[in-house]
Amino acid sequence: MTNHWIDLKNSDCIMTIGCNPAENHPISFKWIEAAIEKGAKLITIDPRYTRTASKADIYARLRPGTDIAFLGGLINYALQKNLIHTEYVRDYTNASFIVSEGFDFREGMFDHWKEKERSYDTKAWTYAVDGAGKALRDPAMKDPRCVFQLLKRHYSRYDIHTVCKITGTDQDDFSKTAETFCSTGRPGRAGTILYAMGITQSTHGVQNVRAIAMLQMLLGNMGIAGGGVNALRGESNVQGSTDYGLLFHVLPGYLPAPEYKDETLASAIARYFPRSNEPKSANWWQNGGKYMVSLLKAWWGGHATDANGYCFDYLPRRSGNHSYNEIIRKIVQGRMEGLVCMGMNPAVGGPNSGSVREGLGRLKWLVTADLWETETSIFWKRPGANPGGIATEVFMLPAAASMEKEGSISNSGRWVQWRYTAVEPPGAAKSDLWIIDQFHKRLKALYRKAGGIFPAPVVKLSWNYGHGHEPDVHLVAKEINGYFTRSATLKDKDRTVEFKAGDQVPTFAQLQDDGSTASGCWIYCGSYTGKGNMMARRDPADLPDGLGMYPNWAWSWPVNRRILYNRASVNKAGRPFDVKRPVIAWNPLKKKWEGDVPDGGAPPCNDDKGVYPFIMLSEGVGRLYALNIKDGPFPEHYEPVESPIRNVLSKVQNNPCVRIGKNVTCDTNKYPFIGTTYRVTEHWQAGAMTRNLPWLVELVPDMFVEISKSLAVAKDIKNGDRVRVTTERGSIEGYALVTSRMQILIVDGNLVEQVGIPWHFGYAGLATGDSANILTSEAQSPVSGIPEFKAFLCNVEKGGRKI
């Protein structure tokens, strides 16, 4: 989230799209209700009338996978009715930038499509530049080649009539949504957009999020209290696991994971962290080299020196896509020997899970670490399996639960909270910290004893977490924060500060690229300093402004800033756009910012030393027009890969960058209905953590399939009947839940029914049931790699026997 949970209470208008906070983030609803009590409006956009919808002032039904049409319609509405925050758009976004002739959009395609490579030449979509390479601009935003005019032209095609034809939304509902939400474009009014998997689990997921961000920039809602682009993340520490680089393309702190063409540290740094020729751009990523070197020092310690590029060669180089779908593909093809699952259950959680379960049998070895038996750990004895024919060695390691270990986790609002050990884990169960420590120590011992291939990165890995039974978590946290490896004298504004070897680094502005600092994750620098463990703070006092920032409760990254991009909450003179809810304000007498931690201490824009607010981009301003995004600089509606209709908006059915596999189909004769997956309050993710708990099983004991009353009548299905759902991938059964929450959609004149399925069930646990992901396909976003779980085609029939 750019903002955070409690900040929701500050909003005038809360729009939920592709998420259902009342049911999946229930306690967050406290803050939504707090806003409603003060007069805020709640708008819910969802294929299904959820509990969130039941509390909304406006509910707009949306066909799964058509979010860009909807959001594009809102963008068009804001532009046509001039509801945008003009000063903000002109000063803080690239609206005024001139785009080169390389960009155009015709007949459903952007220019510069390379048919052979099946990709766009994104380099052609650059800004038009002057002799010095600086982007040309038209501050009046009237030049036909400026971003603002190109944006207007692109979204002029998203009129209400066309949008509602695509999304199946009632035109009145759309108009009310547009009018209400776009009223937050006025300075002094705040609109926030909440989103989750409904937005991300799509072949155009990245473009969905882009559309949300663009709308918020047009309305001046980024950086203000009660505003922002707010992802409701689904697991207690998925924010942390992402921050620490447990994805193939990133290292901790979102540093790029090196590719094969990054032959040296210097060339890698030059490629990843470009300079900016805009003097008023902080271009914060230009400091990336310091974070890279500090990480390498944390990983290979004294072995990492300037002479050897800080052991950059020890880092593996990726070539192409190594994402989840690729891993499963290799496993299914028998080209992966071993898999370690630390609290992950791909046999239920990944798409096309029938194929996953079979594929696991081609692994040579599998290690799972979990609190429970899962569908993944017992894949070899799943219903229908022949264990005798499965050669995989499986190790099921018992792991400690959250209250059985000490450490920190990061919530969706970037608040990093420390938690303590209440009891020891039961029996022989151990914390993942202990398990990972054992993996490293035993592997290192083997390489030391027996040699082997390229042992250096293993045996020289810096691993100093005390001599206890398991690593001292405080030592790990301190390494993450960072420390000085030798004494250093640094300038801090107008004074010098002395540090000794071993001193904790106070903040990432003091991380160096000369080997004098080590830091495991630069964005967490400041979380465990010389002053102690900032994440363990429990001061429940809010600031006098009552905005709910609670600056001394736990610690948020970066540098305890609670609202990101808050420099966009003030005008160029440093005065808040919203005087009732100022996030930061420049005090011209004291020459400092007051309020939240400012997004960089530089004075306001107008000052000589002032900088633009979007400090992580090289231009310093927000991108309405995106650079370097594979599937297009502007979001464009295309159909999901399995769709019941032809694309109304253009002749191009799907985004050309999307790879369409052999196991998807648009044959509505076989599969006439739109299928979608969702979650319930009482169960969680792949289900092991809740389907083993009797209290929760009592609340939701069985797998079900939700259909509308009209579909029930058409198929002669009554509530509680066994039904089977079938897609091109497989077939499952469940109890029919017939509700008025699901409704038939009118899509381009066609009546289309929807089927909603919770995906928490599987064959392991106390409560079992079929897994919805047997039905879904691997079709993924070409940028993020996230599968299109939310929109597919299926059939529903009475009778529980699976085909």
């Binding site: 983030h25 406290k30 689990q201 409701l232 697991e235 207690s236 998925v238 942390g240 696991s241 620490y244 680089g245 447990l246 994805l247 094969y260 020890y314 180089r317 990726r318 891993i327 020997e337 071993g338 898999l339 370690v340 992950m344 959680g349 798409p351 070895w365 429970w372 264990p387 050669a391 099921m396 018992p398 959250s402 209250m403 450490g407 986790i409 969706s412 609002g413 909270q417 938690r419 209440a422 009891v423 029996g427 169960a429 910290l433 054992q438 490293h440 011992a445 083997l446 027996a450 082997g452 390229f454 690593p471 790990v476 946290a477 390494e479 993450i480 309050t681 969680w684 083993n692 209290w695």
Partner: protein
């Protein structure tokens, strides 16, 4: 008035409770309110392991067992409230279905065998080393340019996980994985 839920539960309302139960007016020496089962127990704080709101919780322990888990009303985020999953966390702490032993399934077998940690970890480390040594790629040729590059990576092994791990665990997993040359490192955020 300053009566918080915490104060009330810890006995601020005991006098009233005594009166309601016994029907007699309470005095300091004759309060018959039932004792709170968490009275005098060690309390630690934790954060809910389910969704990412990050609700604060208090855990009460007696004789090494969790006897109560409730919302922490000091937390500005949830102010003591919990949803049904958080409320059920007691059954994660106390559950006979919790894995308590290291289990091993041999190739072709239809059952689990219990194994000691040492045995399992030594075998796992051995398998990791074998797989790494067998599938490690030092160089790779870029098919487009024909040029050879250093890649130093292990293609035959993958790690999936974990959004349920603590930050410090995620960090060590990330560090460990890259040290053995893994590029196939993914988790729930990709789904």
């Amino acid at each position: 008035m300053g009566m918080t839920r915490r104060k009330f539960l810890f006995g601020g309302g005991a006098a009233a409770a005594g009166m309601a139960i016994s029907g007699k007016p309470a005095s300091a020496r004759t309060i018959e309110a039932p004792g709170l089962r968490i009275k005098g127990l060690k309390a630690t704080t934790t954060v809910c392991p389910f969704c990412a709101v990050g609700c604060g919780m208090i855990v009460h322990v007696k004789d090494g067992k969790v006897v109560n888990i409730e919302g922490d009303d000091s937390s500005p985020i949830n102010k003591g409230s919990l949803c049904s999953k958080g409320e059920a966390l007691f059954q994660v702490a106390n559950n006979e279905r919790r894995l308590q032993k290291v289990m091993y399934r041999a190739p072709g077998s239809d059952r689990w065998e219990e194994k000691p940690w040492d045995w399992a970890l030594d075998r796992i480390a051995g398998l990791m080393k074998e797989t790494r040594d067998r599938t490690f790629k030092t160089k790779e040729i870029d098919t487009k340019s024909g040029k050879q590059y250093t890649v130093n990576r292990t293609d035959g092994m993958a790690i999936l996980g974990g959004a349920g791990l603590d930050n410090e665990e995620c960090y060590l997993l990330s560090k460990f994985a890259r040290s053995i040359g893994l590029v196939f490192v993914e988790h729930q955020a990709r789904l």
